[in-house]
């Protein structure tokens, strides 16, 4: 653990947790090495890194990046966490490490959403609450585990903060996108037909699939004769969707607050919260048929009755 970590500025109005900052940063380091790599990326944006070039879109990561970053931090203690997380998030057409092409198709209509996003004054006090920030979906129990206040959860549900942290979420999904597809596809596909039925999707209709993930719903919509466009914040998910459905359009980005032409909108589960919060609902869904899923608490049954432990 670093003993001399500078205390960062807290987000304006956000109360600091009663848990010590050093302890929370230790939690990050134990579980979220990608954050360290991201911090190194931000540092490099400010004046050059010691690590060599990286791409923000590449899911491949040096296994010792966290170790390198700690060594780098020890050598340059004058840079606080809050400063490390400032800076723009560069967009490149190719990954400098593995030379993979950018999965984003050229000339797409969502170019405005791909502009470098400035992290502004987001401090580590907020970054430690990264997964509480995701539309405020976490419970008070989780808040207690991560040492964050519920007031922080509410405030950090703001779309502006979400946009600032979008690159970090993209990194997280970049590392887990393929496994997500393998682990959850059987479950999430079960709800695709009822969702399309709820939308009363007819052949020839245009469907916008927001938070499309691996593109299950867009694929099913195409089989019903509809025209589907998928959009997701994760380039990894978009790449999987595009690979599985080469005839459909998938884009990386966010449709919040933009005018859309598709008369039918389907939103991923988290998007429902954004709709209900009033931040995106009015401008995105006015006059359109919109469907979303909200996952309730449910029980998973493993095996038949004969295999029951009881």
């Amino acid at each position: 653990m670093r003993a001399a970590t500078p205390r960062p500025r807290a987000l304006a109005g956000a109360a600091m947790s009663s848990v010590g900052l050093a302890q929370r940063i230790e939690w990050i380091e134990s579980g979220y090495e990608y954050l360290l790599a991201y911090a190194a990326q931000g540092r490099r944006d400010e004046g050059g890194s010691k690590f060599g070039a990286r791409s923000g879109r590449c899911s491949r990561r040096s296994t010792d990046s966290a170790k390198k970053y700690r060594k780098f931090r020890r050598r340059q203690p004058r840079h606080g966490w809050s400063r490390l997380f400032r800076g723009s998030w560069p967009r490149r057409s190719h990954c400098a490490r593995c030379d993979r092409p950018d999965p984003q198709p050229p000339g797409d209509s969502f170019a405005a959403h791909r502009q470098p996003q400035r992290l502004g004054s987001i401090s580590s006090a907020v970054l430690t609450d990264l997964f509480l920030i995701d539309h405020g979906t976490e419970s008070g129990l989780k808040a207690a585990h991560l040492g964050a206040r519920s007031s922080v959860i509410e405030r950090s549900g703001d779309d502006g903060v979400n946009r600032c942290l979008q690159p970090i979420r993209v990194r997280w999904m970049g590392a887990r996108g393929v496994r997500y597809d393998a682990a959850w596809s059987r479950l999430t596909r079960l709800f695709v037909p009822p969702l399309l039925d709820a939308l009363r999707l007819r052949p020839g209709a245009w469907l916008l699939d927001v938070a499309c993930g691996p593109g299950y719903l867009a694929e099913a919509a195409r089989r019903r004769g509809a025209m589907a466009i998928g959009v997701d914040f994760s380039p990894t998910m978009v790449a999987i969707a595009a690979r599985s459905n080469p005839k459909l359009q998938f884009h990386t980005g966010d449709r919040s607050g933009t005018a859309i032409r598709e008369p039918i909108v389907r939103c991923g589960g988290d998007e429902l919260r954004r709709l209900a919060s009033g931040r995106t609902g009015a401008c995105v869904c006015r006059g359109r048929t919109c469907a979303a899923t909200a996952w309730p608490l449910c029980l998973h049954t493993v095996g038949g009755p004969e295999q029951s432990l009881a």
């Binding site: 919060s277 998973h300 049954t301």
Partner: protein, 70 residues
Amino acid sequence: MNVKLPEGPAYFSYESAAECSPALQRAGFDVDTLEFKTITAEWAVPRAEFVFEAERDAGVRVAALLAAQH
């Protein structure tokens, strides 16, 4: 860890129409046009550990929570 915290939002909020409908109405949706359906599905997993491993290795938010407790 004993941390005194106020109550946070429910993890599965909006799962019920009674909770979701007023929120959507406040957001500008016409409440008369809202429909809510409960879909029950059976997810057959290969083994009991699969659910936990899926959350741990392939999830996003829950995976982060588990990693933080590691």
